[in-house]
Symmetry: D3
Subunit: 300 residues, 6 copies
């Protein structure tokens, strides 16, 4: 059985920590470098439910995409919810290792797994890493659909291919718009609009889009938007990463057992559709605008 330090060296070769963003916090969060490793669990979020799952599974190492401590902490006391995770892991001999923005921009990276799940053909990165001469690393992926699709068709396709969540997929744009170039980016994407427009995309699938950036993006150009659960856009990476470690394990004869958590850690657990067709407490109807585009509650 390899030592934790050996497994971590292998993971660092896949996702070199120095390729993470300056504000990010990747690498090993806890664990003894000399401890032997047999079982590894992959998950998106290092939350208590996942830590408990790792303990139940008898895992020696938990690899997550999100950092436990993105900003530095001066305490890991178990009276805090993150410290409770640390105590659970250390007491049960489970190491925690994080690959975040260094996995986002890797080749293959988080958005490659997302594109594969959506059966899109990857043309290249959205924001290329200037240090990669091969031109494959970087944030987001510019893609082509497998065959011609309208926005409505692609939205239905995404809702079917992505792991199921309560939130589903939110869509903005003309449902009949034909899509020939689609950008995908796992996780929060609302800082990428300038790049998406520069890439000449018809549609952008990502997560965590807020009102103001989304509204400004749709006012500025006819770009279509698809907003899925943050967790759902990053979960495909876990499977991809586990397969990468399996290959390494085979090559070294380590005999590792890798697992991918199927626990949905997206915070949203239910969704309720609007059940009125008029805005609440309607006031005197506006005279000018006819029924069509301005009728109460109708989507624009």
């Amino acid at each position: 059985m390899p030592a934790l330090s050996e497994v971590i060296s292998a993971l660092d070769a896949l996702w070199p920590p120095e390729r993470a963003e300056g504000w990010d916090a990747v690498g090993t969060v806890c664990g003894d470098p000399d401890a032997p490793v047999r079982t590894v669990l992959f998950a998106v979020d290092p939350v208590q439910e996942i830590a408990d799952e790792a303990v139940r599974l008898g895992a020696d190492l938990l690899v997550t995409h999100h950092p436990l401590y993105l900003r530095g902490t001066t305490t890991v006391a178990a009276s805090t919810f993150k410290g409770r995770v640390v105590h659970t892991l250390i007491r049960n001999g489970v190491g925690l290792h994080v690959a975040h923005t260094n996995a986002d921009t890797a080749d293959p990276g988080v958005s490659d797994a997302l594109a594969a799940t959506l059966e899109l053909r990857v043309l290249g990165p959205l924001v290329a890493d200037p240090a990669d001469e091969a031109g494959r690393r970087g944030l987001g992926r510019v893609c082509e659909p497998p065959h011609p699709m309208t926005l409505a068709e692609f939205a239905a396709h995404a809702a079917e291919r992505l792991p199921a969540t309560a939130q589903g997929v939110r869509v903005a744009g003309d449902p009949d718009r034909p899509l020939t170039r689609i950008v995908v980016s796992g996780g929060s994407g609302d800082s990428l609009f300038d790049h998406v427009r520069a890439a000449g995309a018809d549609a952008f699938l990502t997560a965590d889009l807020r009102h103001h950036p989304a509204s400004e993006a749709t006012e500025r150009s006819p770009l279509a938007l698809l907003d899925a659960a943050h967790w759902a856009t990053e979960w495909p990476w876990c499977t991809q990463a586990a397969a990468q470690l399996d290959q390494i394990s085979d090559r070294h004869g380590w005999g590792l057992r890798t697992h991918v958590s199927r626990t949905v850690t997206d915070p949203w657990t239910a969704h309720v559709a609007s059940t009125t067709d008029t805005p609440a407490a309607p006031r005197t109807p506006a005279p000018g605008p006819p029924s069509g585009p301005d009728s109460p509650g109708a989507p624009r």
Copy 2:
């Protein structure tokens, strides 16, 4: 007919600009102070569709909640989408006036209108304005439901009472949890979690919640979350504001005609639910992971 400057003085008395946050940009964006005002349109977003609606309506003044320029601009050229709004308004003699964070914290304010729409009883502000001796002004509102409700019941109630949007309402938490104290805050709420916990709330209804703040909030405490469309949480204020101006008009004999736009300016125009049944379902009781679904690297 009153001059624009007189109407603006009345609006500034309702929502004094000096009560806006330091980073905000409220007040009159365009318009001639001496122009006469007969017709006023209220809306959430100063987008082109709303500017066109104001022109069609023959409005002299458009009052919106969101600023056109939150950060300063050095150009209003019509080659930009915001400049096109400015040209449309100035060429058609329509003034634009904004009440944003000064309306959020007013008495009554944006969250009072939201609470009324949801038929909640307001107990007081979430973040009290220390300058208000009466203790009524401030951000967000701490409320009581009209009668005992579970989270599932309140979510259904919100989906029925709020103006209809494509996004509907996202929910996080135990559906059977009884709610006795509910905090509401119109617009983006993910910076308010510390205050919400301090208020002893069972549930928090707001908009634009992102993965990390929502996930951390639910890990930290059993607080239930409801996330509606940003537009839907602020639209009720338009009706409330129009009624306030109607009263002022009556008092001065101004004969103003006020209108509330029913155009939905939320960017999301459609929603598609997840249509796969794996892995989403098994959130809580993760069994001892059997081999099948957790086998290494298997595509779902």
Copy 3:
């Protein structure tokens, strides 16, 4: 007739916006990109008097050297003096375009026009643009006088050649000093003294020099200074720029009519010379220093 967007493309080729300083605000301030352009007015300052002149002239485009909004604004309401300019221009279909520090450093630029007006021979830029291999672009110009001149002679020459203003020309230095190298820089020049000394100049003609920089410059070295009205040092550029656009119009067969405003927009409208020969309220004369250098009111 060309569209506004076509004329602006031509102006941007003369003075590329990306060559402006980072703190500057150049480019199109208002106007519709599709509007046809027949008449163009050039001026230094985008003030109300110039906007009114453009309207009287029937201009479709006003090109000024100074920005209307150097710092970003969140309002163009006509209750502000700048917003009144915007309303005047938009209502009358006049576009506004600004070329400021990108025109200062162009080839030819603002200081070339100033040097030509003063009949100086340009040797090169004072602060060279490192991106210009030809070595012609940059801030200020190092020049030679057409023939040997003393400071007194050059000051009289400048007062005769520059457009007339109430302020005239202020002079510091030995009137009999012979000048062989003269630096000129249109507009405020008091941040350029280090460069002027490094250029080996005998004299520096610019505008807006204040007490402390001017005093320190004359204490540090015998450099002569000439301070003209800010407007007067930049107005020659308007004629030069109009001629440049005339050539472009001829080349494209656009048939543009260009005009240069002769309105003096320097704020100073009168000048009164000191009319006492002793300092007010003289006190006991200082004993030591004899009458000569210390006599009241005598220039040092």
Copy 4:
């Protein structure tokens, strides 16, 4: 004879150093606290010419309004022009003491001396020092003229009463405007326009006004401006300060001999009026505007 430290204590009582602005550098620049003081010279600028005058006069102490080092220095080497002043003073046993913004805002202060020279009646400070319960300290002075005057009359009066300089007085505004409230502020005044407008002034006399602040001030409101030599607006304080020290000397029986330097240290040594009546190199006359307001070179 008092020691330098005793005289400085007296000066510090007149102009407490802790009342200077945070960015200012006041107090004793050089000198031995135990050295006896008989002769004191007052001047505006601590330049070499003034240091030499102090030596010729046999002064033991030089008191100036402007700091020698406003920003900190790490060298006083005589190879720098300021270091040469330090060497001249220390070698000849002359101390240097500075009262700058603490003298500006004193009661009486720099602008009181300026108002007295201009025979204006002081109503109070322009920017009141909130720590002064008597309401007399602060920056600038709001004044009344001794009798009704137009702007043209007041400009002529100022040119006669202020110490003579080459620059004279620049004026902006309607010459026939009657003045009933005049603000004066010795030294650079272009950061004070908001206060001047708030004071309801008809005219503002100060120094070092630059194009953009002056232009914006006159565009914004009909305020008249008078710009005198920086030195000329502060020199009257020297006489006032010397008289204050004379009184203290008499009270203590110190027998000090005080002198006020009459050396004009304003950098400008000559002025030349514009001697053309048309802008240089006139181009095709603008067609629209008639001769009157737009004729070449005419003051607006």
Copy 5:
């Protein structure tokens, strides 16, 4: 047996965390709030040697003066020396609690324990906490010696009373100077010189004094300095703190067993005196200065 959370509440009452400096990191670093506590170890530094001592002792809680993580960390991996401390403590069920600047300024605080060890009478704090009406809390202590002492006598006394360290005590000043007012401050003291001078002290005993602050302090005034090992000046607090917790334990009938570590964690383990009496490689002796004060190697 009390729970860890109960013991921490008692410690927080002694040294309220909110009284720590803004840059400090105090409070509980690790441990489970529900764990029972029987044995508590007090020490200055949370280093591995102390963690091992706590494990050997069977301690449930380690209380240290210095933070483990003064700046935030994003990892507690055992491959780091601090993470190894965390793993040691968590695996062995030992909590870690820090009282740093909140203990420095407490009443009694770190400098009270230091003064008691040195048998000095405390007059009051050096830098008083303005929130303490009793005037007893604050940084450092102003003291009187028990009887008249010279600097040489006090240095010998300190070397005898403080816990033994390899570094001993460094002394600066006239050995015969009589001391009537002595300031002590546990830990690094070189930012406190202004306060020490303002307190009218004859001598200042602290730690970690560096060349430049110490040199400037002795150039500025005849203040005597004593520099002991940082650890030695703070160790007396451990005994004092243990006694405080003993009292609380007795009052609540908790039956706690408290221990004070005697492990010297000062980094210096040996000291060698200079063994030459001339500077190395002496060059031509300076002619002017006579033998006495300038003789090679003699203390000034």
Copy 6:
């Protein structure tokens, strides 16, 4: 005799001022560039005692390693201790020139002189200056001992070779550790630990090490530390620098007389060893730990 400006040009060639750190303040502090120079004194600190020594010696120039004003000053009044130095020097015609971080990193530099004094063989700089192609300039020096030594032997050797000071040498680490690679750095060294570890050093000799950096360095790795008086680590440079100037003087036939001050300006004037073998006021002995490693006062 050369002028001061000529001598300074020679010194600037040895230690170019532009090679100093950005925060440093090197070069000429006072002196007249035209003054003739015959006698030059070298010293570490520009304190009053050294200024007086220069005057007694009849020196025309004092060259020191430490700046007089590291941060800018706005006063050199003799009421301050640094201003008194300036007055002493200017009145007696002594110039002051500083070579600080530009001398640290020179070839040869401060640490070369330190290594030579310790009879170490220099392998290269610790932090290489990237602009030096020869690879010799930079901060600190990586060295080899002349023959195999243990830490105890090297400490005794350093105490014998360095100029004598009251502080002697503090040592941390295993006395029997054999040393094959030793880093030395004159002056404060506690920011260099990362570089020292990267250089693979066994020991680090420097000055001004404080508790926290030293403690963390010894916890992190078994690196041995030696801490000498700051002055003692930099004094050897004075001799080296004087010899460099002697050579230049010979080459130009200047006939300079150079001297090295032997005044010890280290602030510490005495040292007292700990004279107890138990910590003061011992409390109940800790039960668990046996006598050996935890016995009171024993070095770890």
